[in-house]
Every structure is written in structure tokens, then in C-alpha cells.
Amino acid sequence: MTGTDWLIVPIVAVAALVVLRKLFAGKSKKECGGCSSCSREKTTAKP
């Protein structure tokens, strides 16, 4: 690795955290399941 290439390490680490969080953190009460197609995440729905 040379120059600014070391920057890929924190970028990959943050990406891994985001994906792991999505996979294992579970859904908050405010979310329906994470689809791209509606705005349900803004609700305070209590299924």
C-alpha cells in the first residue's frame, strides 16, 4: 500500500459495521423491515 491507500482500511471497516448492524441489530419498532419502496420507517407503528 502506498500514499493514501491506507484510507481503504477505515472505509471497509465502516462498511462492514453498517452491514453487520443491519444484519444483527434487529428491527427497531419504527421500522417495517427495510424495503426501499415506502416511507414506513418514519412512523411510530406498533405492530
Partner: protein
């Protein structure tokens, strides 16, 4: 004052009387509204808008025709008002929402709720439509008849909100103990008595014009005609998908150009190295590949929103009822299935409005086959790459025609699956289907634009968070480990992704998928559209020429045969590539057996469909 200390004001009424529109107006939220019954299937609560000046919480409930629940969504309303399983907080005030244009149908629930003893006031909603239809409503007389405040409102125009909130706040300050509420299912005599009261109230309070508007009747004569109606439905579906391609092409090309230029510019600004590769090959190529489909997704959503808000969607359900009956379902299943064109998740949740548990289960099980919008990027990418953009019969584009065929294939497959479930005695007879057909109205520009803005934002946020993160990881997997000294093959072949792809490849070789598709398919199980991003990243990393910023369609055209592309399309009609859908399915049906069975069957059917397509296309094309 904390949220829990505020008095809860619940909105109660029939389906499609405008409760959710009123809820949105009172709270500033943007819950989904549409012009057909059964849109809201769960309780949603939020604080009253602060500028309305009272510390109240507002609770939106699913519509109910009576307090005696016939479906899962009506049960939620029943449990909240009468204290059932899982309800902890009871409302202190009820606002009964009535459709002013159809009081004969809506008044009985007001009388039934009044008998409970809750402090109530009435929102006489859609008053603007009633007045436009020439109806004269005597609000004072209605107040006397119902024994409570009646406030004319128009939720879409935000008229009457202040007096409504004032009335609710006044009721909230009175002493009331919800735990003393008693209820028993209405007897036949009580129902007849209520009907008589309704007729009596109508005589005293409502003057209907001698010649009511015949617009809806006239239009329905054509749109609900036994022969012309289904033809009109087909024509509407066909036009929507033609629009997706023809109207979507210009902004899509424009966004594609911007992303390409941005990739070239980024590459030119950075010295060549891994950071440059990550930004260009991983992030810009991957996220850009899915972002270019935003215009087409928005055109599809705009069409659905316009059809929903105009009142046509309920007609579509009516037209489909007879066909659905043949496979053990009813028109009631059509509404959630149609919303599955946007996303399977709200469609599965929306099936709560189906009364029969067996029909509800069958509807949920076939929902993943309806063509959700996440498939659209995959379909349009492959169609744009492999189907010539020619005009057929001088009328319609071949690409739009193929897209329509894919949607029809999804719908027909759902129909066949439902038939199989019926054959195994799962769904039983179709049963009766009662649906209130709403009056046609011009779609509200505000509703449509808000819906589009929300969905565009959700799509971009998702592309910028989850998809971006997956692409960064996929880039890392496609880049490391680095090729050994003196390596002769492309570097991706030595990477972790390359090795994984080669492990999965034997399973997918018979259906024509190369190892690069196999690699892209793995993150594609998180969500369908991720496949497009993943292909963008894999092909960008694989390209040894860093100056190659040609569109993904060109790269696929050069690398795949037509049978491979058709096979992937067939795979995507059935493949269960959205884990969130199955998580919600499990939550709704609470049966791991059915959820796993559904996932497995769809996976096997996807493989078989792709295999047959690849083999047949390989012989004849």
C-alpha cells in the same frame, strides 16, 4: 409533558373515510393514504402538531365496519377500543370519522361507538366533496341526533382541523375511565334498530340533490363492463410499462452520463492505486449502477399512486374477483397483491384486511412472486442490454412489451401458485367479496408528489448506506488477496470473491450463469436490486483497463449470451432474493415451516425456470 402522559385521541371509522389523511393533517406525518378501503392495517400514533396548541397524542386505527371484528386489522381496532390482547393504553377520546358523501353507510359505526360510552366527537370528513356533489348537511341537527360535537372537515385541504382539535381537547379534560367500558356483539335487533335510527337521522339532516353526479356511474359502466373492463385494465397495465421505458429513457441516460463523467473525473483526480479503485470500481460503479434506475422506479410509483388515489384500484380488485375465485382467493387479495408491485413487505402486512385466515395465508405465500419494484433495475438492465429498442406494429416499443410480459409472468405465476394451494385444500372456496367502490376523484398532486419524494428519498438513502456498504465489502472481496507475482489471469480470479464464485458456479452453470453472476448473486440475496450494483462492481474490478467507463449494459452484452440473459430474467421472476420479505412473512404468519417452505419452493422453481429457459433458448436462439 411526556408522550405517555398525553391523552390519546383515537380516530375511528369505516375503511376509506379519510382517517389516515386526517391523522397526517393532525400530526404532520406522512402515513400512506389511497382511495380504496383497507390501506391502514395497523395502529399508528404520534403527537398532535405543536402549532395546533394542545398536548394530545393521536392514534390512527385500521378502518372497521363494526366493532365485531371480521379480519386481523378490524381486530386491532376492536382490541384498542375494548381492551384486548396486547393493548396497554386505551384512548381517552374518540374522533369518529365519517365520509360526508356516504352517511347512510358510515353512520352505523358512529351509533355503535357512541353506545360504548367513550367521550366522542365526529369529524364530518370530505365535506368539500359532499358540497361539490350538491349535498346539504345540517350539522346542528346532526349534533343533536348524535349527542356530540360534529365538525365538518376536509383532511386533504386541512379544513376544520382547529375546531376539531378544540372539541377533542375539551373532551380530553373531562374525567373518564376507559376500564369501565363494556361491550358485547350486537344482536340482530340492535342492528335493525341502528339502521332505523340512521334513516331517521338522514331524513332530518341530509338533503341529497335530485340529480346526483353521474360521473362515477358513467365511467364505471365502461370500466366495470364484463368484457371492456378487463380489456381496459390490461391496457392500463400495458401503458404503465411502456411509460416506464419511453419516459424513463431520457433521465436514465442523463444520470448514466453524469455517473460516467463523475467516475472519469474521480479517476483523473486521484493517483492510481487502491483508493482510486475502491472509489471508482467499488462505490461509483456499484451505487451508480442502481441509481440510474431511479427515474423508472419513480414512473412506476407515480402510476400506482395515481391509480390508487383516483379510485381505480378498487375497480381492479372488483374485476379480478371472479378470476381469483377460481384459485380459492377473492378480490380482497388483489389489493395487497397490487401493492406488491411496489414492495412485497407492505403487501404482506396489508393482507391483514383479508377475513379468511386460509386466504390470507395463501395471499402472503404468493406475494413474493408479484413483481416488486426492486426487480425493475434488474429487468430494465437486462432488457436494455439484450432486447433491441425497436417499435412493433408501429405502435409500441419491444422493450416495454418484454417488461409487460415479465410482469404478466409474475402475476400468472402467483395465480398458478394460488391454484396449487387450493388443490392442496389450503384456501378452500373463494367466498364472498364485498368492497366499497369509492367515488372517482382527480388524484391529489400533493399526495402523489409526497409519495414520490418519500420513495425517491428512501431509494437514495438505501443506495447511499446499505448498498454502498455492501459494494465496498464486495470490492474488498474482489480485490484481496492480490494476485501472486507473475499471475497471468485477471486479478479478480485470485480474489476471495473469485474463489467463492467458482465454488458456487457448478450449481449455476447448468442455468447459464458464469462465476461473475454467481459472485453478484450472493449479496443479491440481501435485496434484489443489489445484484445490479454488484454486477457493476464485479465488472468494473474485473476490467483491467482502468479507463474503461463504458456502461454496464455494454459490458454485459460483450460477456453474456442471450440465453444467459433470458435465464437470469426467468430466475428473477421467482427467486426469493429479499430476506426482509421472508422476515416479515414469518412475523405475520408465525410459522417457520411455511416461511421456509415458501423460500425453498421459490428457490427450486427459480432454478428450474432458469434451467428450462437457458436450455430452450440455447437450442432455438
Amino acid at each position: 409533558m411526556s408522550g405517555s402522559e398525553k391523552v390519546l385521541v383515537a380516530l375511528v371509522g369505516h375503511p376509506n373515510c379519510g382517517k389516515t389523511a386526517l391523522f397526517n393533517a393532525l400530526t404532520g406525518l406522512r402515513q400512506k393514504v389511497a382511495n380504496y378501503p383497507g390501506v391502514t392495517v395497523e395502529r399508528v400514533e404520534s403527537d398532535l402538531r405543536s402549532d395546533l396548541g394542545h398536548p394530545l397524542r393521536v392514534l390512527d386505527l385500521p378502518g372497521a365496519y363494526s366493532l365485531n371484528p371480521q379480519s386481523e386489522d378490524e381486530k386491532i381496532t376492536h382490541d384498542v377500543l375494548l381492551g384486548g390482547m396486547g393493548t396497554d393504553v386505551r384512548p381517552g377520546v374518540l374522533i369518529v370519522v365519517l365520509d360526508a358523501t356516504n352517511l347512510r353507510l358510515h353512520l352505523p359505526i358512529a351509533l355503535e361507538v357512541r353506545e360504548l360510552g367513550y367521550p366522542i366527537c365526529v369529524a364530518l370528513n370530505m365535506i368539500d366533496l359532499a358540497e361539490a356533489a350538491g349535498m346539504q348537511l345540517n350539522v346542528k341537527a346532526l349534533e343533536e341526533a348524535l349527542g356530540c360535537r360534529v365538525i365538518p372537515t376536509s383532511a386533504t385541504r386541512k379544513d376544520g382541523l382547529v375546531p376539531l382539535v378544540e372539541a377533542a381537547a375539551k373532551l380530553a379534560s373531562s374525567e373518564f375511565d376507559a376500564s369501565k367500558i363494556q361491550w358485547a356483539p350486537s344482536t340482530r335487533e340492535q342492528i335493525i334498530l341502528r339502521r332505523k335510527s340512521v334513516e331517521d337521522i338522514l331524513r332530518r339532516t341530509v338533503v341529497v340533490p335530485g340529480h346526483p353526479s353521474l360521473f362515477t356511474t358513467r365511467v364505471d359502466r365502461f370500466l366495470l363492463h364484463p368484457f371492456l373492463g378487463p380489456l381496459a385494465l390490461l391496457a392500463i397495465v400495458f401503458l404503465v410499462f411502456q411509460a416506464v421505458f419511453t419516459l424513463g429513457a431520457i433521465p436514465t441516460d442523463w444520470i448514466d452520463g453524469v455517473i460516467s463523467n463523475f467516475a472519469s473525473w474521480t479517476r483523473s483526480q486521484l493517483s492510481s492505486g487502491m483508493l482510486s479503485d475502491l472509489l471508482v470500481d467499488g462505490i461509483i460503479s456499484g451505487v451508480g449502477a442502481v441509481l440510474v434506475f431511479l427515474p423508472q422506479i419513480l414512473i412506476l410509483f407515480a402510476s400506482l399512486l395515481i391509480l390508487e388515489d383516483s379510485g381505480y384500484m378498487a375497480r381492479a380488485a372488483f374485476l379480478m374477483d371472479r378470476i381469483m375465485g377460481r384459485v380459492g382467493l377473492s378480490g380482497r387479495s388483489v389489493l395487497p397483491l397490487v401493492s406488491g408491485f411496489a414492495c412485497a413487505i407492505p403487501a404482506i402486512i396489508g393482507s391483514r384486511s383479508i377475513q379468511s385466515p386460509a386466504q390470507r395465508l395463501a395471499t402472503i405465500l404468493i406475494t413474493p412472486v408479484t413483481t416488486c419494484s426492486a426487480r425493475l433495475p434488474v429487468y430494465t438492465l437486462l432488457i436494455a442490454a439484450f432486447i433491441p429498442n425497436t417499435v412493433v406494429a408501429g405502435l409500441f416499443g419491444l422493450q416495454g412489451f418484454v417488461l409487460t410480459l415479465l410482469y404478466i409472468l409474475g402475476a400468472v405465476s402467483a395465480f398458478v401458485f394460488a391454484g396449487l394451494l387450493k388443490a392442496f385444500n389450503l384456501t378452500g372456496a373463494g367466498g364472498y367479496f364485498l368492497l366499497e367502490l369509492p367515488t372517482y376523484r382527480l388524484p391529489s398532486m400533493r399526495t402523489v408528489l409526497r409519495g414520490l419524494l418519500d420513495r425517491a428519498r428512501a431509494f437514495i438513502v438505501r443506495a447511499g448506506t446499505l448498498i454502498l456498504s455492501i459494494m465496498v465489502l464486495l470490492w474488498a472481496m474482489s480485490t484481496f488477496p492480490r494476485p501472486p507475482e507473475g499471475a497471468t489471469q485477471p486479478s479478480i480470479n485470485y480474489s476471495l470473491a473469485g474463489k467463492l464464485g467458482n465454488i458456487v458456479a457448478p450449481l449455476l452453470e447448468p442455468i447459464g450463469f458464469n462465476w461473475k453472476i454467481s459472485v453478484a448473486m450472493i449479496p443479491g440475496f440481501a435485496a434484489r436490486e443489489v445484484l445490479v450494483s454488484a454486477l457493476g462492481t464485479v465488472y468494473a474490478v474485473e476490467s483491467e483497463n482502468s479507463e474503461d467507463t463504458s456502461a454496464l449494459t455494454e459490458k454485459l452484452k460483450a460477456d453474456w449470451s442471450l440465453p444467459t440473459a433470458l435465464s437470469l430474467l426467468a430466475w428473477y421472476v421467482f427467486a426469493p432474493q429479499c430476506l426482509a420479505t421472508f422476515a416479515v412473512m414469518q412475523r405475520e404468519i408465525r410459522s417457520l415451516r411455511w416461511t421456509l417452505l415458501s423460500f425453498t419452493v421459490l428457490l427450486v422453481v427459480a432454478w428450474l425456470a432458469a434451467f428450462i429457459t437457458y436450455q430452450v433458448a440455447g437450442r432455438f436462439l
